[in-house]
Symmetry: C2
Subunit: 218 residues, 2 copies
């Protein structure tokens, strides 16, 4: 298996965690999002993923070469093809709950704070760095506060986002918290998120997936 | 089944299409996103969904009341619990492909152009209406151009996004095109998207789900 990614990309980080939780071997190919004008825009990479986004996952499945985009689609694929340990619960209700937690990060927080969005704000819209950072913190804070409330009031929350084993929602939570910390978001009012985050950081799959532990880390 | 939504909300529209494709009966509860200061912010609605976003889907499953958030989690749930007709293909590779198409709309296009984002731009950041509209069209154009390219070059594309029956990706495509048209995006360079969009518009499940055909339409 081959993962094209960038050490600091949230979406790459999510997939690394999932691969590690499954105990799968994978080769990493670094796609530097800043150097060389952004290696994600190179024609060879665009041929893999016209979106010019990381990550891309390549696998062989029943004799076919597979090239996958979109981190959540990859994690669903991994959970279907390499079912143990499961990253989603076994009941449809619980799966919907865990997917909704992951999607609340993937759709409500992360896209708004992506590199290309921040560049459009400071470039095309000429907002100041302070305004850009306030934008980042605003959406991060709004989204994480709600996630905190959901997890704090749900009996299914355990040592991890769902029960006592790490799963899909944790794959999304940890990279988002890493980003929030990089932008100095105030996480003091989020004890449940931070407790789960800490539990994840002590888990070997998450340690191995951390940005600082990647071959392309700076 | 009960769907809390808003006639013009993309995410509500996606779930209406999925429910109609499955032939399921549902009661609609209108949550007006603009009137009364935004009915999604009312405490009773926030108790259903702390995100203050539409839609919310309520169902009964094996004797349990279920309240679901996040449109994609709902559609996955519907496909698991009411499997016919299937909205996702049967093979893991093809499922990953269809999910990635849906996610490229749900994560790369829609969140950036959401009502609350546009309000932050014109409110907090004081950008002009022209700049706001240019922002909208920029992200819509970037995202849809790539989707056009993916669908145009993939042998799996048929009358619909995947093959000749409507499925999950079409549930995401049609509301996004409706939004793009409302913001006067230039869709002339997207013949495959527009051909699929047209095929959907002729399908009874999509006709019944259209914003103009909802009880709360204005």
């Amino acid at each position: 298996m081959k993962l094209y990614g960038y050490f600091r990309s949230s979406a790459s980080y999510r997939v690394r965690i999932a691969l590690n939780l499954k105990g799968l071997d994978y080769e990493q190919v670094a796609v530097h999002l800043v150097k060389n004008g952004g290696e994600q825009f190179a024609p060879a990479y665009r041929a893999l993923n016209p979106d010019a986004l990381v990550p891309v996952l390549q696998d062989e499945y029943e004799g076919h070469a597979v090239t996958l985009t979109q981190s959540m689609a990859m994690i669903e694929y991994l959970d279907e093809v390499y079912p143990q340990p499961a990253l989603l619960p076994s009941s449809a209700i619980e799966r919907a709950h865990v997917r909704a937690l992951a999607l609340s990060i993937a759709c409500e927080i992360h896209p708004v704070n992506n590199l290309r969005i921040l560049r459009y704000l400071t470039g095309t819209l000429q907002v100041s760095d302070d305004q850009k950072n306030a934008w980042y913190r605003h959406w991060c804070d709004e989204g994480l506060k709600v996630l905190e409330q959901k997890l704090a009031t749900d009996a299914r929350t355990g040592r991890f986002c769902f029960g006592d084993e790490p799963g899909m929602a944790d794959c999304f939570l940890v990279p988002q918290i890493a980003n929030a910390q990089r932008f100095n978001c105030d996480l003091s009012g989020m004890p449940v998120l931070m407790r789960i985050h800490q539990a994840c950081l002590e888990h070997p799959a998450f340690i191995k997936a951390a940005p600082a532990n990647q071959p392309d880390a700076e």
